[in-house]
């Protein structure tokens, strides 16, 4: 019972915090330090002598909604199933707001939980991985609660999910943050009563270039071989043997393997077809959600006044 009361009070607190909009950024750099979201695309546009082929702006949706793209493995391709799945995903998106988020963003997920006392369960954490495609898209949240690291995996289109809220929208330097498991706990500690930070409209998603410190070995994986950008002290923990092994295991030719890249991606032509199919509905949903959000921002101060 005491637990329930505490929870209620924390909810109240969070509402007041929402109003006050305190900056709550322990680890990230300041939001002014905004970098262009997609340096790769941006830099090639102005400089080229030969004009690159006109790229469809719709294609930029691939960063926001990567799960709409099918698995590139031809073994599992099935155009009909993909189409049906996309329709189902849009239906689900019409029901609840699945916001734009990236690996490194901090989310709060509320699910209806038959085991919990209040029949709902809220978990806050940093998204350390996004995987899967279609209706099977998943993401993993990680947090440290009472000095105990906890990770929860959610299906993005799980009907049990009541709401997904982005508390802080940002990217990290790496595509997966599994190294947080071996990092010092403060790097993955986030308070449950954290208040959401609102980015002004039109700003690109900031990249948080914080570099975490790893705990001494043993580690869960051989992080030194993975060319991680978001880890600062990896060299401290290595022995000469590890460095040698790392040199031997390097695969510098891998980035030139054009077909490997090709087999992992969905080509432009297929993507434009897919995005053309879902673009209108996604756009409508986005616009209507924004309107509602603005109204709420205007409406929320009232209880405090009254």
């Amino acid at each position: 019972m005491s637990l329930a009361i505490r929870k209620c009070s924390s909810d109240l607190l969070s509402i007041t915090k929402w109003v006050v909009r305190r900056e709550y950024r322990l680890l990230s750099t300041l939001p002014e330090n905004i970098e262009p979201a997609n340096t790769d695309v941006d830099e090639k546009a102005p400089r080229t002598g030969r004009r690159p082929r006109l790229q469809n702006p719709v294609l930029e949706y691939r960063h926001i909604y990567p799960e709409f793209l099918p698995d590139p493995n031809p073994k599992w391709r099935n155009s009909l199933r993909e189409k049906l799945e996309r329709a189902d995903m849009l239906k689900r998106r019409a029901k609840i707001d699945i916001p734009e988020f990236y690996v490194g963003s901090i989310l709060a997920v509320t699910v209806s939980d038959p085991h919990a006392q209040g029949k709902t369960n809220r978990f806050v954490g940093i998204c350390i991985d996004r995987k899967g495609c279609g209706l099977r898209a998943q993401f993993i949240l990680r947090n440290v609660v009472d000095h105990q690291g906890v990770e929860v995996r959610y299906d993005l289109y799980d009907p049990i999910i009541q709401s997904i809220q982005v508390l802080r929208l940002e990217k990290r330097l790496d595509d997966e943050l599994f190294y947080l498991r071996d990092a010092l706990p403060e790097y993955s500690t986030f308070p449950f009563d954290m208040d959401p930070e609102v980015l002004p409209d039109g700003t690109p998603v900031p990249i948080n270039d914080v570099q975490v410190k790893l705990k001494p070995r043993p580690w869960l994986e051989r992080w030194e071989r993975q060319e991680l950008k978001g880890v600062s002290n990896i060299e401290e923990h290595l022995k000469e043997k590890d460095r040698k092994r790392r040199e031997l295991r390097k695969e510098p030719w891998e980035k030139y393997d054009l077909m490997k890249q090709y087999r992992r991606t969905i080509p432009i032509e297929e993507q434009s077809e897919i995005w053309g199919e879902v673009y209108n509905q996604l756009q409508q949903m986005h616009v209507s959600r924004r309107k509602v959000a603005r109204k709420r921002v205007l409406a929320t101060p009232k209880p405090q006044l009254g």
Binding site: L3, V145, D146, Q148, V150, E151, V152, Y154, D158, L248
Partner: protein
């Protein structure tokens, strides 16, 4: 050099796959309640070892009863958090947590200082029978659920 390395790898003298982190015989656990024996064992750096998992698979899953060897004694405990990969919406912990109980299901400590998964409520209720041990007492000493 690289060739030699590859050769050793293909011989498969050792595992190269990631481990499953299962709780089975002789796994070290972390006691997360404030029972005297548990606290001392953890403080001395001698965490308890599993000597029996009470289920058919002999691999401990969440809510399973285990017997542990702790400070030269045999104690029973309940697994309240696992490192192993969990199904969707079930939390995965960074350590294998155990809460020590006696034969009747009463916890030895009075507080659990880490969060425990909500699914334990249902599991422990199912495992509790009128005549047998009452495991739900464990839920009473929990401080936080995730």
């Amino acid at each position: 050099m690289l060739r030699r390395l590859l050769a050793t790898n293909t011989l498969r003298g050792f595992h190269t796959t990631a481990c499953m982190n299962e709780v089975r015989l002789l796994t070290r656990l972390r006691v997360v309640d404030n029972s005297e024996i548990g606290k001392r064992a953890m403080a001395e750096g001698k965490p308890p070892k599993v000597i029996c998992v009470y289920n058919k698979q002999r691999v401990g899953y969440i809510g399973d009863r285990v017997m542990v060897a702790i400070k030269g004694e045999k104690k029973k405990g309940i697994l309240v958090g696992l490192k192993q990969k969990q199904s969707v919406r079930v939390p995965k912990f960074d350590s294998n947590n155990v809460v020590l109980i006696d034969d009747s299901g009463t916890p030895l400590g009075t507080r659990i200082h880490v969060p425990i998964p909500t699914i334990l409520r249902t599991i422990l209720k199912q495992r509790t029978h009128a005549k047998g041990a009452d495991y739900t007492k464990l839920l009473g000493i929990a401080t936080r659920f995730v």
